[in-house]
């Protein structure tokens, strides 16, 4: 008979307020095999852990059940506690009576009853537990960063600085991301390009960093320390090594109707182009949709003018396969599409622009060379209205936008307003806002400067309609403080558009089996305590891919992600999870279904002589490579014969848990 100890945690009042912990501990005393059952305020504290260790020694326990928080929180803690007291760490079971019980119940008898059932189920499982031994696996000392914006660049620089190889995979022809498109940055108003481009150069010159631009990650397999990624490097029809970035091809290209993505499509670019002057790599790319040579074979001018002989119309996509120990997701954001918000008239009026478009209109390298001219007629706007929270903080049921606050809009709108008033004092600037949110170092001071020093007119209220009347944009909104409806005749309207995750994030999340929230932002392993790690081991989060944030926060998080990557890559070996699958050869019928569902390629089939009672024949049977298996359990539920089983979560253990709850 096993000797089992049960330890019920109060978690302060987190559990004790809705679960009668003493009653739970008392009830467990009657369970078969339980020799000690007790409760304590904070079981994870040093005193609580010592209590468990003392009980293990005193009662010679074979296994313990800790009734506490989610195993994701403290299973590792209690396993270490048990191990230190000489108990195999896999003889520890956690009954989650917090997240799945006390937090969701209000009624004490109800919560207590459920806690008792959950504890009983954990005991039922523990009775079938076997001691397990962990193995080790080698760590590939290379990091993959997906996304080459400021987040990806900073993470790559920090990881490279620690001496590890880094590949940045960027889907656009250049790194730099959204930050490269910005004019000035709040709250210091330094020029975005002046602080970003040196970092881009540093990344390109680092011996440890390899920039794979105009490329997308196509497939990822493996697990922490041992990922294999397939990267598709799209054909740019220009030899990256030969091209000097002289720009002669751009000047000569006759097809100049390509929408300039870098300038938010406010002007055009040739079919062969370098996105912007400071692009890295400083190599041209041909847009196959625009290029006459690629479309119908009629042109070839760029090939003739290129003195480096870099043009190659026959270039094809290249597949690169590499192994990585860690993967960083830095996929960034895009502004939400505001076309569906009809009342704001974005689709009909050229002079209703998004904030990112305004960045380009004000940028010295933008379509108007930094002079603020309105897109419709190139005239200087005298009255400008900013509308905040466009698509942010929306009621989810209205499907008009995002439920979250995009976080950066209040500050960049204050920046825009201030810069315009500074440069064009004859301009009236009005800002419609719901709330002005300025938590951040020197942020509120910055906003107040816009109001107090620069005389920007902040109007609390939302805009109901923007209509074009004889070339004037009539902005109708409410002024909540004065309690009246107002209309402002504006020359230019700027929408502080919500930001949303880059559309590639969803497929990358699926590829990495990395969980995402309902808005397609990547989820953290713990929202407070592990903010830069994904719940999937070996996947780290950097920048807006994880949630809206500004540049300083992004850089800080990028550095934090890098330090986690360095911590992982610095290890030569990782302790593997001993909860791996194994096949009972006598039951295996060789159907290969487990092999098909295994996401890690851990299962192979061999012809093998199988021996058992009344059986001695060669059969095709499944074999699991325990070093590759991650214990996901997909094979065990696929196997119709029940031949495949998972250590630590065997069919028998799970059925025992279910029986303890249902019977």
């Amino acid at each position: 008979m096993q000797k089992i100890g049960v330890f019920v945690c109060w978690c302060g009042s987190n559990i004790a307020a809705t679960v009668d912990v003493k009653a739970v501990a008392e009830a467990m005393k009657n369970e078969d095999g339980v020799v000690v059952s007790t409760d304590y305020q904070y079981m994870c504290s040093a005193a609580g852990q010592k209590m468990i260790q003392d009980a293990i020694h005193e009662h010679q326990l074979d296994g313990i059940v800790v009734c506490s928080c989610s195993p994701r929180m403290h299973e590792a803690t209690f396993r270490k506690t048990a191990e230190a007291a000489g108990l195999n760490p896999y003889m520890v079971e956690i009954a989650n009576i917090r997240e799945q019980c006390s937090w969701i119940h209000k009624d004490i008898p109800e919560g207590t009853e459920k806690a008792i059932i959950l504890a009983r189920s954990a005991i039922a499982k523990l009775r079938h537990n076997m001691p397990l031994q962990a193995g080790t696996s080698a760590v590939k000392k290379r990091c993959l960063v997906i996304g080459g914006g400021i987040a990806g660049i900073q993470t790559a620089l920090d990881v490279a600085d620690a001496g590890f190889e880094v590949d940045i995979v960027e889907k656009r022809p250049t790194i730099g991301g959204r930050m490269a498109q910005l004019d000035k940055t709040f709250p210091t108003l330094d020029c975005s390009a002046c602080i970003l481009t040196p970092k881009m150069v540093e990344a390109s010159q680092s011996e440890k960093i390899n920039i794979i631009s105009y490329a997308e990650v196509e497939k990822v397999s493996g697990f922490v320390g041992n990922f294999t990624a397939t990267i598709r490097k799209k054909a740019r029809y220009v030899d990256e090594v030969k091209c000097t970035g002289c720009g002669l091809c751009m000047a000569k290209c006759p097809a100049k109707k390509g929408k300039n993505e870098f300038n938010m499509e406010l002007d055009n670019r040739p079919a062969i182009y370098i996105p912007f002057a400071q692009a890295i790599p400083n190599v041209a790319v041909i847009d196959p949709e625009q290029c006459n040579k690629l479309k119908n074979g009629k042109c070839g001018l760029c090939e003739r003018v290129c003195t480096a002989g870099a043009i190659n119309y026959k270039q094809e996509d290249e597949l690169i396969e590499r192994e990585y120990g860690a993967i960083v997701v830095a996929t960034g954001f895009q502004p939400m599409d505001v076309n569906p918000l009809n009342e704001l008239g974005y689709a009909e009026n050229a002079d209703v622009v998004t904030s990112l478009e305004l960045e380009r209109l004000m940028n010295a390298a933008g379509p108007s060379k930094g002079t603020l001219l309105r897109p419709s007629d190139g005239k200087h706007p005298h009255t400008i209205v900013f509308v905040q929270c466009v698509g942010s903080r929306c009621d989810e049921n209205t499907k008009r936008g995002k439920p979250y606050c995009s976080k950066i809009c209040c500050m960049y709108t204050a920046k825009h307003a201030m810069l315009i008033r500074e440069k064009y004092p004859d301009t009236d600037v009005h800002v419609f806002y719901i709330d002005v949110r300025t938590p951040g170092k020197n942020f509120d001071e910055f906003y107040r400067r816009a109001v107090e020093q620069y005389g920007v007119d902040y109007i609390k209220g939302q805009v109901g309609k923007i209509a074009n009347e004889n070339g004037k944009l009539m902005v109708q909104g409410s002024d909540l403080i004065n309690g009246e409806q107002i209309t402002i005749a504006a020359d230019l309207v700027v929408l502080a558009t919500a930001i949303e995750p880059d559309p590639t994030a969803r497929s990358i999340g699926t590829m990495l089996t990395s969980s995402m929230d309902t808005n397609d932002f990547f989820t953290e392993a713990h929202p407070k305590l592990r903010p830069v790690e994904s719940p999937t081991a070996g996947i780290f989060l950097s920048g807006v891919a994880q949630g809206p944030k500004d540049i300083p926060e992004t850089v800080a998080q990028a550095g934090a992600a890098a330090s986690k990557v360095i911590g992982l890559l610095a290890k030569d070996h990782l302790v593997t999870n001993p909860c791996v699958a194994g096949s009972n050869e006598l039951l295996c019928n060789g159907c290969s279904q487990c092999e098909k569902v295994c996401p890690y390629g851990a299962i192979t089939y061999i012809d093998k002589e199988v021996r058992g009672p009344g059986v001695r024949e060669v059969r095709r049977v499944a074999q699991v490579n325990p070093a590759v298996c991650q214990g996901c359990g997909a094979c065990t539920v696929t196997c119709p014969s029940g031949a495949m089983d998972l250590k630590g979560f065997s069919n028998q253990q799970i059925m025992a848990e279910v029986d303890a709850i249902c019977l």
Partner: protein
């Protein structure tokens, strides 16, 4: 006549040593009940029959013969070739152990007329064969019907009505295991219901409801592999429409993951065991369940 030609060809192949035995049909206890049979000599071949009562799908019987020395001649009607092909996909059979004659079929019958499975014929294409013996009449397509009509009716019912429908149908089950034993997708070395170690058999026998679960678990186990050959319903002595359970799964898979016919062509896609980025989110499956 197809039957005579089949017999002639089988005798030839036995005589020249191409095959060691012939898997075909012989007359059974009733006029309308012809049984699968194995013939090893010309003498035994005298009992061979083929005709409108040869409904039995011989694919499942190949499992055991796969281990025998020498080739087996197996006769497969067009729809039977899907089952055989599926077994090849699952590595349960070696192609080189069999000589396959594709047999023309005009629709099979029992005492009540056309078999259920023949009312929604899979067509006259042989997924694989070494040679085909048929005639003009057997190549004519059968009338097209919507095989999911009954499933759609079940889907229209309320939860309670559907539950009662199945409780009533399954209440007649005598657990003879005929459906399982004839099913070409049920190929486990040891069925979980026969394995005391799985802990399922004992549970399934505790109450009559748990016994009903046998059929539901079986439908889950063959989901994505069932070719809809209809043998389960054909052999059921209690006339339980077991094929409707499998067909519901097939309908759902077609709707969620695109049209799929198990046992068709080379194995390129298996909706239940392959994963693509385009697969529907689990939430959609869940929402449909609540309809």
């Amino acid at each position: 006549m197809i039957a005579n030609e089949l017999k002639k060809r089988a005798l030839e192949l036995l005589a020249d040593g191409t095959v060691k035995r012939v898997l075909g049909w012989q007359k059974g206890e009733f006029e309308h009940d012809w049984s699968p049979a194995l013939f090893e000599t010309a003498e035994e071949m005298k009992g061979f029959v083929y005709g409108k009562y040869a409904g039995a799908n011989l694919s499942k019987y190949c499992l055991k013969l796969n281990k025998e020395e020498g080739k087996t001649l197996v006769m497969l009607k067009p729809c039977d070739t899907y089952s055989f092909n599926q077994l090849l996909h699952e590595h349960r059979l070696n192609r080189e152990n069999f000589y396959i004659i594709g047999v023309g079929c005009k629709g099979m019958e029992d005492q009540n007329g056309l078999l259920m499975k023949c009312t929604c014929c899979k067509g006259k294409v042989f997924e694989l064969s070494d040679e085909v013996i048929d005639d003009e009449e057997s190549r004519q397509p059968m009338p097209e019907v919507d095989r999911f009509e009954q499933v759609a009716k079940l889907e229209q019912m309320t939860h309670q009505e559907r539950f009662e429908f199945w409780r009533n149908e399954l209440s007649r089950c005598i657990r003879c295991n005929a459906c399982r034993n004839v099913c070409p997708a049920c190929t486990c070395v040891k069925c979980v219901f026969d394995n005391p170690g799985s802990g399922i058999a004992s549970k399934a026998n505790v109450t009559d409801f748990e016994e009903n679960m046998f059929h539901i678990i079986r439908a889950y186990h063959v989901a994505g592999r069932c070719t809809d050959c209809g043998e389960c319903s054909r052999v059921c002595p209690q006339n339980i429409p077991l094929h409707l359970l499998n067909r519901k799964f097939i309908k759902d898979m077609n709707e969620l993951y695109g049209e799929y016919q198990a046992g068709e062509g080379a194995e390129e896609r298996t909706p239940m065991t392959s994963y693509t980025l385009e697969d529907v989110e689990p939430g959609i499956v869940h929402e449909r369940g609540n309809e």
